[in-house]
Amino acid sequence: MSNEEELARVVFSQGSENALKEGQKEQTYKVSIKKLEAWFGTKQALKDVSLDVKENTITAIIGPSGCGKTTLIRCLNRMHEMTPSSRSRGQVIIDGIDIYDRNIDPVIIKRRIGMVFQKPNPFPTMSIYDNVAAGLKLNGVKDRQLIDEIVKESLQGAGIWEEVKNELDKPGMGLSGGQQQRLCIARALAMQPEVLLMDEPTSALDPMASTKIEELVHDLKQELTIIIVTHNMQQAARVSDYTAFMYLGALVEYGPTKKIFENPEKELTERYISGKFG
């Protein structure tokens, strides 16, 4: 059984029969968010957000600071609940399974749904190799040959293999910012996720490094469903198939990127993307 199959088996075994039955109705979309609401203490960060994400697409989430973009994607892999005093309500259905179903282990969810953060965050004391292999080892994969293969595939998938193949034992922190971010993507890919969440993955990078990440994101959608939060509207326009515009915790408009950037339905969207506020 491949590592991917092994992980899938573990995840699906966590779901209740009801969740699976429910899932059969939801197979059209890779991710379905239904009436999602989230709070930090008494402050509501997400208000009744519903949207469906197709498989093997890139969805960009845009909106001014504090509009709930990051909170939304943190709800998609149950990271939001790790913040003290936070809570959420609603459904996030991935492959037909509600990840908030009480029978689902959030740790398993985080394996299926990779995340890349704004600032590259390689494990500081680990080598390049170990950064990529860490997740596998933590999940009990011991076969050295299998780990070697996955590390190589992941680094290749993240477009950094050629640059680091001869220095895998060197510290990950020794790489440039752009390389570190691709290393973090490789680390996420090693867990063979089906959905990759990216929270402003290029905001700390120079234009060349950003371009490489954008090209990589474009290539990765062949295998993954990607949801990317970005402040850079041109980046959203360049890389995404669909764009969601959020404002004050609510989803204002969601649709094909071409439509959103050429002819948005909502005046608020038009004003935001045209730089007339925010």
């Binding site: 326009a237 950037f261 050429e262 002819n263 948005p264 038009e270 045209s274 730089g275």
Partner: protein, 217 residues
């Protein structure tokens, strides 16, 4: 605070309005010269050249604005449409020049029956004014009226063509002066093309305002 993009959009809008006035003046002057037999070729040539230069200026500025500011939504549609509208006005100038060139090439036509050309010219004048007004007012509904008038223009052109091809009797044939019907046919054709471009300009305005392209006829 004014967006930097707005400064560029204002510039492009001013160029387009200058083109609107100049192209209108070019077509009207060329029609008057047909009617009155005046020689305005040099003047129309200068205006037509100026329109071509302004069209290039519009395209250069549009590309610069896209490259610098990556405009989206209404801004992007406006800039894209300005390139098309500028092309339309530039064609007005070119057809105006073609009209006066016909007069010079064919020679004396004072004794020709000018009813067909002047009739169509009257409709086309109105169409030019309507398209420029639609541009000023951003009137997305001007298309319907303009296409209706374009149908009239097309019908007039086809009618005249049929009359020339199939004269009713021997007397008609005898009366047909090649200088008259060749000049009339050519000018009617140019007017018919101006009419099409007036419609395309209104299509562009509709696209700016709604984001929906009209199917080109």
């Amino acid at each position: 605070m004014t967006r930097l993009l707005d400064l560029g959009i204002d510039r492009i809008r001013n160029i387009i309005m200058d083109m609107a006035r100049l192209s209108e003046q070019s077509v009207f002057t060329s029609i008057d010269s047909y009617d009155k037999g005046t020689n305005v070729k040099k003047q129309i040539f200068e205006w037509s050249e100026k329109l071509r230069v302004l069209q290039d200026e519009t395209a250069d500025l549009a590309i610069e604005l896209i490259a610098r500011y990556q405009p989206v939504a209404t801004d992007l549609r406006f800039i894209r449409s300005c390139m098309e509208i500028a092309y339309g006005f530039s064609r007005f100038g070119r057809y105006a020049y073609d009209i006066v060139e016909v007069l010079e090439t064919i020679g004396h036509i004072n004794d020709c029956d000018k009813t067909a050309v002047l009739g169509m010219a009257s409709t086309v004048r109105e169409m030019i004014l309507l398209s420029v007004e639609a541009l000023q007012l951003r009137d997305k509904n001007a298309s319907a009226k303009l296409y209706e008038m374009d149908d009239t223009v097309d019908a007039l052109y086809r009618k005249y063509l049929r009359e020339v091809i199939t004269p009713q009797n021997d007397q008609d044939k005898k009366d047909m002066n090649p200088r008259c019907y060749i000049s009339a046919l050519l000018i009617l054709r140019y007017l018919e093309r101006i009419s099409d471009h007036a419609c395309y300009i209104s299509d562009s305005i509709h696209y700016i305002m709604t984001g929906r392209s009209s199917p080109r006829r």
